[in-house]
């Protein structure tokens, strides 16, 4: 693991006699919260905080990104892989607003983050002071909760509450805005930390009577399907879901973010469902008479046209967030609670079920008859094939991060995630530039594991400044740019739905990515053909240090199969070559 909180005493004895400040309290609270990795970027309003950090240097692994967006995406990657909250510190004004994309991303994908922003002195808040932004107003709709600390005596309690809120129930980002004077001024040694959140009591334990309804529904069902979402990963219920599905022989489809919750190569697994999901998964969701959704939120990219989503099914929905139940899909059996506890209760109550073998063989036939496909060119590379090589070469064991777009969908399709928490992608928000910094956070969370950032050439150019972190720490992240010199998914939609008017989606020039890597003293390789990739990939992945692989792939390749916008699950196009 990264440097743990080994030393708590101050490095500099002359400083330790100075009176304690708000910033010191903050750092103590972070140590108490077992924070060992910080994604921070200094600036005017957080000078007191970074000064206090300087005195406690040895307690944290401090990661200095080169842009606050890099800090927060790295914190997201760290949170996704470690299961611990990612902690970010940024200054007021532009520092804080640079975090906004990451906060929104963490909110929609339910990632636990605790974000500290500096604020101008209390005396000038509201006067449009230098580097002032109303970050409370800006982040209210994209945080699970946010605080502006106005009295130093509240600070320790607020930090405790923030970690509690971020990591319990449905996880999410919590922001704490700290005026500079509050961090800089001397304060008492200790304040009451007891927290009180009467309006926040997430339902964790499912109601057994609701589980009984599910049991009864299963007794009369003929075509059940389980839909696995990221909620299973958050509640660490992968063993329970495997055992439940195996015992009752129920096929499983997954959401994008749920990949890895159920073994990707299991015979019961039908693949990802949704817009670019498999025919077998979508058809099963269309035909099912009992849909058991565990920890997924029925996102529109999953459901397609709602009128055709599981039209004849009884819908059971297990979710820790009651507001997700019934939001998009009428739900007959709502079960509010933690996925792991719900699955345990299901395993306890549901001992026998009817024989689903006819249904199972039907969906498995679909799986066999309509596999994911691509047409491999003679020598040129295409994204699908390249990603499949990465899968084979890593035995599906690597931690994979992506941006959004074609390369993301191909990775979801062709990289089979057999283990949980190996998949870090921007699902709900669909953030370009997420994958690479997220890979840095993932690598810090799992230093021994192989981390591969599969990114597009468009997205990579949004956050590539973080190559500095790889250089600085020699972090062995492997970057694979699926380079089609275009914004592939935009280009694909323009081809399909805008009569090939490629408006601003094709790049006429590109940087030399290899030289760019070299500028950061990172090994860079450009690969043009299949042969080259097959030959070089094993060594590049095994290389002890960061590597950037510029994979030149054909531009005209599209992601298939596909549900066109407005169409239903049963109306997939491109299911066969």
């Amino acid at each position: 693991m990264v440097k743990a909180k080994a030393e708590h005493q101050d490095n500099n004895p002359t400083i330790s006699h100075a009176p304690k400040t708000g910033a010191d309290l903050l750092i103590e609270a972070l140590i108490d919260a077992n924070v060992d990795t910080l994604f921070g970027y200094p600036g005017g309003a957080v000078l007191p905080i970074f000064d206090a950090l300087y005195k406690k240097k040895s307690s944290f692994n401090q990661v200095l990104a080169r842009h606050e967006q890099g800090s927060i995406h790295a914190a997201e990657g760290y949170a996704r892989v470690s299961g611990k909250p990612g902690v970010v510190i940024a200054t007021s004004g532009p520092g804080a607003t640079n975090l906004v994309t990451g906060i929104a991303d963490a909110m929609i994908d339910s990632l636990p983050l605790v974000v500290f922003t500096g604020q101008v002195n209390q005396a000038v808040i509201g006067t449009d002071a230098f580097q002032e932004a109303d970050i409370m107003g800006i982040t209210t709709p994209i945080t699970k909760h946010n605080y502006q600390v106005r009295s130093i005596s509240d600070l320790p309690r607020v930090i405790k509450e923030a970690f509690h809120i971020a990591t319990t129930g449905r996880p999410g980002p919590v922001l704490i805005d700290i005026p500079k004077d509050l961090a800089a001024n001397p304060c008492a040694d200790k304040y009451d930390e007891a927290f009180y959140l009467p309006g926040y009591q997430p339902t964790i334990k499912p109601n057994p009577l609701q589980v009984k309804k599910l049991k009864e529904a299963l007794e009369t069902a003929q075509k059940p399907v389980i839909l696995t979402g990221a909620g299973i990963l958050f509640s660490k219920a992968t063993e329970e879901i495997l055992s439940f599905a195996k015992t009752h022989q129920i096929p499983v489809a997954s959401t994008l973010l749920g990949l890895g919750a159920f073994p990707g190569e299991d015979e019961l697994f039908l693949g990802m469902a949704g817009m670019h999901g498999t025919y077998a998964a979508n058809q099963a969701l269309y035909e099912t008479d009992l849909l058991i959704n565990i920890g997924a939120r029925f996102d529109d990219r999953l459901t397609g046209n709602l009128d055709h989503f599981a039209p004849s099914a009884i819908v059971a929905h297990i979710d820790i967030d009651p507001a997700e139940i019934g939001k998009n899909i009428t739900t007959h059996i709502p079960i509010v609670g933690d996925a792991k506890l719900a699955l345990k209760e299901m395993c306890k109550q549901i001992k026998t079920t009817p024989d689903f073998s006819t249904w199972l063989s039907h969906v498995q036939e679909n799986k066999a008859n309509y596999p994911l496909w691509y047409t491999k060119p003679e020598t040129d590379m295409i994204g699908q094939w390249a990603i499949e090589q990465v899968f084979k070469e890593t035995n599906g064991d690597a931690i994979i991060t992506t941006d959004v777009g074609q390369h993301q969908m191909w990775t979801a399709q062709f990289y089979k995630f057999n283990k949980p928490n190996r998949w870090v992608t921007s699902g709900g928000l669909g953030t370009m530039g997420f994958g690479f910094p997220a890979a840095i956070g993932a690598q810090l969370a799992a230093p021994e594991d192989m981390v591969v950032a599969i990114v597009g050439d468009g997205g990579f150019q949004m956050t590539l400044q973080e190559l500095s972190i790889l250089q600085e720490r020699n972090l062995p992240v492997k970057i694979i740019i699926v380079n089609n010199a275009a914004l592939g998914m935009v280009r694909q939609w323009q081809e399909k739905f805008y009569e090939k008017r490629y408006s601003e989606s094709v790049f006429s020039i590109q940087p030399d990515f290899v030289k760019l890597a070299e500028a950061y003293e990172i090994k860079g390789v450009k690969i043009d053909t299949q042969e080259e990739l097959s030959e070089k990939l094993p060594d590049l992945l095994a290389y002890d240090g960061p590597v950037l692989i510029d994979c030149r792939v054909l531009q005209q390749e599209n992601v298939y199969p596909m549900i066109a916008p407005g169409k239903g699950l049963h109306e997939m196009i491109g299911v066969k070559p």
């Binding site: 106005r150 309006g199 019934g326």
Partner: protein, 174 residues
């Protein structure tokens, strides 16, 4: 459909912004909103009148409100036995000759004149929204110069009808 929703909230900075922002983000129309302290220190009651399409949307409103950390309890009290009132201040054009006539109009509404000037008259009325509307309509011909309404505030009556009896018609035989 119009629904009356009440929420007890912790009196924290930004709580009103959180709630109105949430309603706006989820595209719920607020017809009126009123906020005030309750019997417990630090706790406020909000009463919203919202226009929602259907019960599914309504359920979303209450669930989303409940998710807010500073919200303690949300109730849709539309179908309960409730007391709902609002207050309106209405300033109309008037002169000495008209005062008596206007007095005659507002009296059945138990409204009162609270300010008189040379050519205006200000009236205060409390009651259900329908009653307030009715009075405003009656006063409109005189020339309404200004209206200030608080929006509805409401809570449940001390005694709720037992289930099943709710719709029972009154009968002399029983």
């Amino acid at each position: 459909m119009k629904r009356i929703i009440t929420a007890k909230v912790r009196n924290r900075s930004g709580v009103l912004n959180r709630i109105t922002g949430l309603l706006q983000k989820r595209q719920f129309n607020i017809e009126s909103i009123s906020v005030g302290r309750t019997e417990t220190e630090g706790i406020s009651r909000m009463t919203f009148v919202v226009e929602v399409e259907d019960f599914q949307k309504l359920e979303q409103v209450t669930k989303q409100l409940n998710k807010q950390i500073d919200v303690l309890k949300v109730s849709d009290i539309t179908d309960k036995a409730i007391v709902a009132r609002e207050l309106a201040l209405i300033k109309i054009v008037s002169n000495g000759q008209l005062r008596a006539e206007i007095q005659g109009i507002i009296e059945p509404f138990r409204a009162t004149v609270i300010d008189v000037s040379k050519d205006t008259l200000s009236i205060q009325v409390t009651g259900k929204s329908e009653k307030v509307e009715a009075l405003i309509e009656l006063l409109r011909p005189y020339g309404v110069k200004d209206i200030a309404r608080t929006g509805v505030t409401a809570f449940m009556r001390g005694q709720q009808p037992q289930a099943g009896q709710e719709q029972a018609p009154f009968s002399l035989l029983h």
